[in-house]
């Protein structure tokens, strides 16, 4: 497999208006956080004397989680499209093979998500991380969510129709961090079923020890899920 393989990915996306549109969503989310959310906060304060500013960071963190999910779904559907067309079988009989193909499919969404998460945090000043290493690490953990969705679709959906049905259930992952924000202690731990819950906690905590604890749990959780899903996908005969 060569680097020029990647250039055709852009052409594949360009050929599908829905996929192109969904690639624009990170910019829409950024614009919302940059302009819309501050405006709503201002209006809430002026009209009802209600201070929404404590929720700004949480809203931003929530938006942050949306992007890898979106990327995972976009590329998951590219994968299902290729499965429907028998492309994965055709690649299976080349030296690149199914695993090489999957690495290609995984590389792009995680890279886009990672760059977006970093830019999002830095531009919007969502977090005062002590160093870039910690920020990079947590950005990588959050971005790896894209791979979970991509592999989940690849492992369990036989076609795009099935993929659409499955992707409706992905919202349950986003519910994890939301429960953490809205439920009182100790009920907020219910959200712990979602890997995003731990990533969000790691991202929001100002405490160094807690950062490493939640990041560690998050990495273990993501790695275990990715390993199971990767094996499941590889075992499929298509």
């Amino acid at each position: 497999m060569k680097l020029r393989t990647l250039t055709y990915d852009y052409k594949l996306l360009k050929g599908d208006p829905m996929l192109m549109l969904s690639m624009g969503i990170p910019f829409i989310l950024w614009a919302m956080m940059q302009f819309l959310v501050p405006w709503i906060m201002e209006v809430a304060m002026e009209q009802w004397d209600f201070d929404l500013s404590p929720y700004y960071i949480q809203t931003g963190t929530f938006f942050l989680m949306l992007v890898p999910m979106m990327m995972g779904m976009v590329y998951g559907f590219v994968l299902l499209d290729e499965r429907d067309g028998g492309i994965i079988t055709a690649i299976s009989v080349t030296p690149t093979g199914k695993k090489g193909y999957l690495l290609l499919r995984m590389g792009i969404p995680i890279t886009i998500s990672f760059v977006f998460v970093l830019l999002f945090v830095l531009i919007l000043h969502l977090s005062d991380f002590r160093n870039l290493f910690q920020l990079g690490l947590i950005a990588l953990v959050i971005s790896s969510q894209s791979l979970i969705l991509l592999l989940f679709l690849g492992a369990f959906a036989d076609n795009k129709v099935m993929g659409l049905a499955i992707s409706k259930g992905f919202g349950i992952l986003l519910l994890g961090p939301l429960l953490d924000y809205v439920l009182p202690s100790p009920f907020h731990w219910i959200g712990g079923y979602s890997p995003l819950f731990w990533a969000s906690r790691a991202f929001l905590t100002p405490d160094d020890f807690q950062f490493w604890l939640y990041t560690g749990i998050s990495i273990l959780f993501h790695t275990l899920l990715l390993w199971i899903l990767f094996r499941k996908f590889s075992a499929r005969s298509d």
Binding site: K11, T94, P95
Partner: protein, 285 residues
């Protein structure tokens, strides 16, 4: 080039084997025809031979590689054209070939030269989604030739092609054979099999009851006779004569000398009839 010994395969979760102890050898530069009705196990055999299905019993050696110990480099010299063209519909013909060429580490052929071979040069920049079935089949076929394969697996290569393009494809296949490429051809198309293949294997219910040369099969199962259709008193009649000492057959000579002949045909067995005779199954099911 391909040695298969006592190959059996059962799909996971199934009790019944799809392939039952099949054995055959294919020499380098041979076109080997694999015939059988749908569901006989042809595609499963092909999937085992090109390494897509693991967990089989028996021994399969392809291009010197025991498939139980193969690595990805095995595919550098294998070409596979599937029955249904599996192409990137959103990319052009040229982009499809360039993208697939990027999946190989070894040197690949010039895509423009391949497109020229099957009359697709004018459509090189057309999206495959607007191709006819025949055009997709041709593109699917040349994609299998990108990596200079030493072994080529072809599944119904002329399906959906008009006679002109089918001729072009068959000529390319024969030319590849001349160059020493070994070809494993799976088909329903008896005429193609008869014309292209040196040897044929008939597959029925996962077994190979017959493996023989095309010529030997025709000789063994053909009737050595000639059928003459003629007009006698304005009435069309037909009569069959043995080929043995035909020139000394008075009745035959009389007919061709004195009556108006409509047709004369030797009664060779068609491959389709041979298949039915030796396997007891219809080929197109």
């Amino acid at each position: 080039m391909i040695q298969v010994k006592d190959l059996s395969y059962t799909y996971p979760g199934s009790d019944h084997p799809v392939l039952k102890n099949i054995s055959f050898d294919i020499q380098q530069g041979e076109i080997f025809g694999f015939l059988g009705p749908s569901g006989a196990g042809k595609s499963t055999t092909q999937k085992v031979l090109n390494g897509l299905l693991k967990g089989y019993q028996g021994s399969v050696i392809v291009n010197g590689t025991d498939l139980k110990k193969m690595d990805r480099s095995f595919y550098e010299k294998i070409g596979v054209a599937f029955e249904f063209p599996n192409l990137y519909m959103k990319l052009t013909a040229l982009e499809n070939l360039k993208l697939f060429a990027s999946f190989f580490n070894s040197a690949t052929r010039d895509p423009l030269e391949l497109l020229e071979m099957v009359n697709l040069s004018a459509d090189q920049n057309t999206r495959v989604s607007s191709f006819s079935k025949g055009m997709k089949m041709r593109l699917n076929f040349i994609r299998a030739l990108l990596n200079h394969p030493e072994i080529l697996f072809l599944d119904e290569p002329t399906a959906g092609l008009d006679p002109g393009n089918a001729r072009i494809m068959k000529d390319i296949i024969l030319d590849l054979k001349q160059q020493g490429v070994t070809i494993f051809l799976t088909t329903h198309h008896m005429d193609d099999a008869g014309e292209l293949c040196k040897r044929l294997a008939f597959m029925v219910n996962g077994s190979l009851p017959v493996i023989d040369s095309t010529t030997a099969l025709k000789l063994k199962h053909g009737k050595k006779s000639v059928k003459v259709e003629y007009l006698q008193n304005e009435e069309p009649l037909a009569k069959e004569f043995s080929l043995n000492e035909l020139s000394e057959n008075q009745q035959f000579m009389e007919i061709i000398r004195t009556l108006k002949i409509l047709t004369i045909h030797t009664q060779e067995a068609s491959l389709e009839n041979i298949f039915i005779e030796v396997t007891g199954h219809q080929l197109k099911q």
